[in-house]
């Protein structure tokens, strides 16, 4: 399947992607989806469209909300960058470790550096900040400033 065919398949299946799904260049598809519909689209991409490689998850501070880009790829090199958001008042997203166990460390990184709650993430040691790092300090937030 070409990147254009995958984009069309996604927009046919999920009408709400029509305005945001785009092929930015060869082998790169981008799409935005709201938090409630995210898992539906994500599971469809992983299970039906065979995006079987999780490259990483990126967390973003976008002012009033946090953004999350899930970078997933197919064996033939096509990458889907699926973006979703969570408002700062309810800064939490659901884990994807049930689909990709390797997401564990990427989600811990988001939890530590952005201060976002990852629902369903197994308890474990934090990453990457030190154990004695002050609570409530999340360096990747735009309003975070170094104390020294």
């Amino acid at each position: 399947m070409t990147e254009e065919a995958i984009k069309n398949d996604l927009t046919d299946k999920f009408g709400f992607l029509a305005n945001t799904a785009r092929v930015q260049r060869k082998r790169r598809i981008w799409a935005d989806v709201d938090r409630d519909n995210f898992r539906k689209v994500f599971d469809y991409a992983v299970n039906d469209l065979e995006f079987s490689i999780l490259c990483t998850v990126t967390g973003l501070d976008e002012g009033s909300r946090y953004g999350f880009v899930y970078h997933i790829a197919k064996e033939d090199g096509i990458m889907l960058n699926l973006k979703t958001w969570a408002p700062k008042e309810t800064a939490s997203i659901k884990t994807i470790t049930d689909a990709f166990p390797s997401a564990d460390i990427y989600e811990r990184e988001i939890a530590d550096l952005l201060g976002v709650k990852i629902e369903g993430l197994a308890s474990g040691r934090r990453y990457p900040l030190p154990d004695d790092w002050p609570a409530g300090e999340h360096p990747l937030r735009k309003d975070w400033k170094r104390s020294s």
Binding site: Q24, R25, R27, R28, W30, S52, I53, L54, C55, T56, T58, G59, L60, V69, H71, A73, E75, D76, G77, I78, M79, N81, F100, P101, S102, D104, I105, Y106, L113, G124, R125, R126, Y127, P128, L129, P130, P139, L140
Partner: protein, 406 residues
Amino acid sequence: MHKVTIPIGPQHPALKEPESFLVTLSGEKIMKFSARLGYNHRGIEKACEERTYIQDVYLTERICGICSHAHSTCFVQAVEEIAGLDVPKRAVYIRTLVAELERIHSHLLWLGVAGHEVGFDTLLMYTWRDRELVMDILAALTGNRVNYGINTIGGVRRDILPEHTAQIRRAIDTLEERTQYYIKIASEEVTLIKRLSGVGVLSPEDAVKLGAVGPTGRASGVDRDVRRDDPYAAYAELDFNVITDKHCDVYGRTVVRLGELMECYKMIRQILKKMPEGPITVKAPRRIPAGEATSRYEAPRGEDMHYVKSNGTDKPERVKVRAPTLANIQTVAKMLEDRQLADLPIVIAAIDPCFSCTDRLTVIREAGKRSKKVMRWEELHSYSVDWYKKRGVDFSGLNKRLEKII
């Protein structure tokens, strides 16, 4: 049997990198293994947001001392995509050349470390001596042994000269011969084969499930390589094989890296032959238009990925880096399940975690004097040889004998 949990690290002589492991043992058998990372976290992603794109090229290069070119290339590729720059072909070929030279130095370094971890220090001495050939080429091409500074947004900063081509061809011929010798060792040396076989087993299913990348995944039969699957730089125009193996253990990881070295030599000869003429850079704007891009790169340890988001200024809004070790470290617990404690150093070393790499000295401050002297590489080399000779250490006879053997 009574279970004991012992901490290893964060500073430990077996691993030249700060990491902390908690190992639960029953006798000598590993029952549970967990890793705590982050001791080397320097806040580079945040620092990138506070610096200009050009400064970030040098900053991302310093993410890793060994695969520094991997990170700077991955970063500039993403920025170039957002800015819509058409990078000249010659620049792309030079980037690919440095990338494959970097893979050679990294894989030879790993082979030496692996030899050291299993008590085969002769292999360490041999491979690290041979590695100097490729380090010399990198120094001649870029001016640096590590952190080459060859990349810039829109191309490369230095051109390749005819004398470099000749030097590279000579060194590649020697290295190919040496690698064939190491392949012979790996296929005939019973002690080495027995020490590495069946150690650190990672099944193909687990490798896929846990997201193993690079030689770690390929040694478990995972046929993935970004250079072929999602080609960047000049890889679409090169003829090479992706090396996989079905041993699924440390031995398999050795076989894959040795095979990849042979592919590197093949690719470098093609690059030199096909090197296009023309400019090596295009002018890049200081302010990058708003946008976002992802870039993938097959680093010596596996897939490296950068995400860059720009906001129309001269500083990025966000830079995200996923280095290959972060993907591979998650496989180590599986590799060590029910294995012996004595296998722990080589199993961890076999994923080739990124070690810090120190640079050589270029500024010499003589003892007791305040004056500084800047030396060229050749001067520094003869200075060090003379320094040792004056103190009764002379390797010149030994070197001549070694040259005859090689």
